[in-house]
């Protein structure tokens, strides 16, 4: 699947949620088999605006509110996808995966393989991830590693409106199940101000962003910062600070965890020799470990320093000073990069 990045005819600055919805609406117009299912996706338009406006245009048959029965409706998405439709099912918060994981990982993700390719499951599972607003232990996780670990699903994590739209087009058109994780803090919600980064110019036309291609957001020779989601923006901020002190950090936004663009990471590490991995998942047995391992496998002799920043293997606490302590901040990233120098 090649990238089709058109010359932008008309571009507007969009929030991430608008960009995501625009892709869904475009695909729904072009393909009657695409429909949306989830809790509060119709009249409410998605708790995080992920389906805003779709009910008005497409009606209740294609934008379906469903009972609070994630196993039943995500499984129904699997069944309708196997029947050839292209459902988009929303798991309101990724933290709720525990009530429906069997449908996600034992059916959705494995049916293609277990059937030897006889069936496909072309569906998108959208889900909100991330903290920073004191929603505590059951509503603030990203669980990036949990999903990326289990084979058979593609896992994508946009960090900008531009990527949100292109990744959504690719996800809906993909013949495999795609887990599309959008970070609440980046969506541009009226009630949860986003940092400046995620709102970007977005072309009006449809375009795809191919899976498995990381985005080098900023080039630099002194250290490689590998990250995704919210922390792309924190890493860029840290890199700007570091640049003032003459330290040039390369910032890589993975964009997709499965497939993972190891090559871009390894090439960068060959160049910089210093690796800092940052994410908002739990530290151990997750994304940061995997990136370090891939770098070690691919560029061990060049690797001079390694740092990981992530949630330090504690559930996400509620009170602000506690949550801030465990969620890597811009200064933490800058400090980690500095530790790798010299």
């Amino acid at each position: 699947m090649a990238t089709t990045e058109p010359e932008p005819v008309a571009e507007r600055d969009l929030t991430m949620s608008r960009a995501m919805v625009e892709a869904v609406a475009t695909e729904m117009r072009e393909n009657d088999e695409v429909f949306v299912m989830g809790e509060d996706v119709a009249d409410y338009g998605g708790i995080f605006d992920s389906t805003q406006g779709l009910l008005d245009e497409f009606g209740r048959d294609r934008v379906m509110d469903v009972p609070i029965s994630e196993t039943a409706f995500i499984g129904a998405a699997v069944g309708s996808a196997q029947a050839g439709m292209r459902p988009i099912a929303e798991l309101m918060f990724v933290d709720f995966f525990g009530v429906c994981m069997d449908q996600i990982y034992n059916q959705m993700a494995k049916n293609a393989y277990m059937s030897g390719g006889a069936v496909n499951v072309p569906m998108v599972l959208t889900t909100a991830v991330g903290g920073t607003y004191s929603d505590a232990g059951q509503h603030s996780q990203t669980l990036y590693g949990t999903f990326a670990h289990l084979p058979g699903m593609k896992v994508v994590v946009p960090s900008t409106a531009y990527d949100a739209k292109g990744l959504m087009h690719s996800a809906i058109r993909d013949d495999d199940p795609v887990v599309y994780m959008f970070h609440k803090r980046l969506m541009g919600l009226g009630w949860m101000p986003a940092p400046p980064g995620p709102k970007t110019p977005v072309p009006e036309e449809a375009y795809e962003i191919p899976f498995g291609e990381a985005d080098v957001k900023r080039e630099g020779d002194d250290a490689t910062v590998v990250t995704l989601g919210l922390h792309v923006h924190r890493a860029l901020e840290a890199a700007a600070e570091l640049a003032d002190d003459g330290v040039e950090a390369e910032v890589i936004d993975l964009r997709t965890l499965v497939p993972l663009d190891t090559e871009t990471v390894v090439e960068s590490v060959r160049k910089t020799g210093r690796l800092v991995v940052v994410d908002e998942d739990y530290r151990s047995f997750g994304v940061t470990g995997e990136i370090v391992a891939r770098a070690a496998e691919g560029a061990l002799s060049d690797l001079e320093a390694v740092e990981r920043l992530a949630i330090p293997d504690v559930p996400i606490p509620y009170a602000r000073p506690l949550e801030e302590e465990v969620n890597p901040a811009t200064e933490d990233i800058a400090a980690a990069v500095r530790r790798t120098q010299g």
Binding site: I68, S69, Y133, D135, Q138, V314, P317, Y318, A319, P321
Partner: protein, 337 residues
């Protein structure tokens, strides 16, 4: 009952005030003195007070994401609960749990923000009571939106087959966030779910504390006597948004006004007046409730925030030896830092 209800109502009103005040001029979920989401229960009080009136401290209650009225009726320490909601170190959970995760082992109260997932632990508490031969009971609260969730339905069966002392209390406020119940189930009476599990199912059709009290007397009595579980559905009303900040665009304009005319507190007050309780006494009870709430809020606001370092404690009760903060160089056996 009246005291619990007016306390709960005033509590929610005051929390709403505190919460929103900190979010002026623009609503920003991260601003103000109360962190995070806030689900308030004004209009639900009868379901809490009517049932918990029958409970002792050693009975267990689990509540869902909308827990304050139930916690108050169960006798949770209001000062420490409020401190928790304000995210303070002397809160029930040292500021780690917050409004959806209030735990008070002194009165065996807990809550969870995941739909219906308080049901299985309530069944477990009932199982423990039965195994130990006490006459303790457990009550699991859930919303009508939760009756479609596997965790609840499985719990009905497990409680039924072992005749466990559990009462499942469904608070039917007709809405699950923006979804009216007709859109998500064919069953008009949630208590009907009991039929498929050979368990008594009872519905209280009016938002009325006395009716709840009477139905609960039977259900709790049945459990305490060792005769097994009951599913009790209670009509309640959601006077506020699903959470604070909910614009409620999905809700008919006049619905809340209409519901407020059926206010369970007014209804109970009328009843008490009819039984001869005079206006003065009601006023005193209200005033006492308000004082208690104001005291709790004042207490909470005085409390210190937790120290960032405390984030690393309490993952385990038996920490590994040597105790080490997860994620630090020490825990990782050294490093190049």
């Amino acid at each position: 009952m009246f005291s619990d209800m007016v306390t709960a109502r005033y509590y929610e009103e005051r929390l709403q005030e505190e919460y929103l005040e900190g979010k002026q001029p623009a609503f920003d979920i991260s601003a103000g003195p109360i962190p995070g989401e806030l689900h308030l229960a004004a209009g639900h009080e009868a379901a809490a007070a009517g049932v918990c009136q029958h409970l002792r401290d050693d009975d267990t209650v689990t509540a869902p994401h909308r827990p304050h009225h139930v916690a108050i009726a169960k006798g949770v320490d209001l000062d420490r609960m409020t401190a928790e909601i304000f995210g303070r170190r002397t809160g029930l959970c040292k500021g780690k749990g917050g409004h959806m995760h209030l735990f008070d082992p002194d009165v065996n109260f807990a809550c969870s923000g995941i739909i219906a997932q308080g049901c299985p632990p309530a069944v477990g508490a009932a199982m423990a009571a039965k195994k130990r031969g006490t006459d303790g009971v457990a009550v699991a609260y859930l919303g009508e939106g939760a009756i479609d969730q596997g965790g609840f339905l499985e719990s009905l069966n497990l409680a039924s087959v072992h005749d466990l002392p559990v009462v499942f209390v469904v608070e039917d406020n007709d809405w699950a966030i923006s979804m009216p119940k007709e859109r998500v189930t064919d069953v008009k009476n949630g208590a009907q779910r009991a039929d498929g599990f050979d368990m008594p199912g009872v519905r209280v059709d009016y938002n009325d504390a006395v009716a709840v009290y009477e139905a609960a007397a039977e259900a709790v009595g049945r459990a305490r006597a060792g005769n097994g579980p009951t599913l009790l559905e209670v009509q309640v009303h959601r006077h506020m948004g699903h959470f604070m900040g909910d614009a409620e665009a999905y809700r008919p304009d006049d619905e809340v006004e209409r519901l407020k005319r059926l206010d369970p507190i007014d209804r109970l007050a009328d009843r008490l007046r009819a039984e001869g309780v005079d206006e003065e006494r009601l006023g005193e009870l209200r005033a006492a409730a308000e004082r208690r709430v104001e005291d709790a809020i004042a207490f909470a606001k005085e409390q210190p925030e937790p120290d960032p370092e405390e984030a690393y404690d309490d993952v385990f009760a038996d920490p590994p030896e040597p105790a080490a903060k997860p994620g630090t160089a020490a825990a990782d056996g050294g490093g190049d830092e």
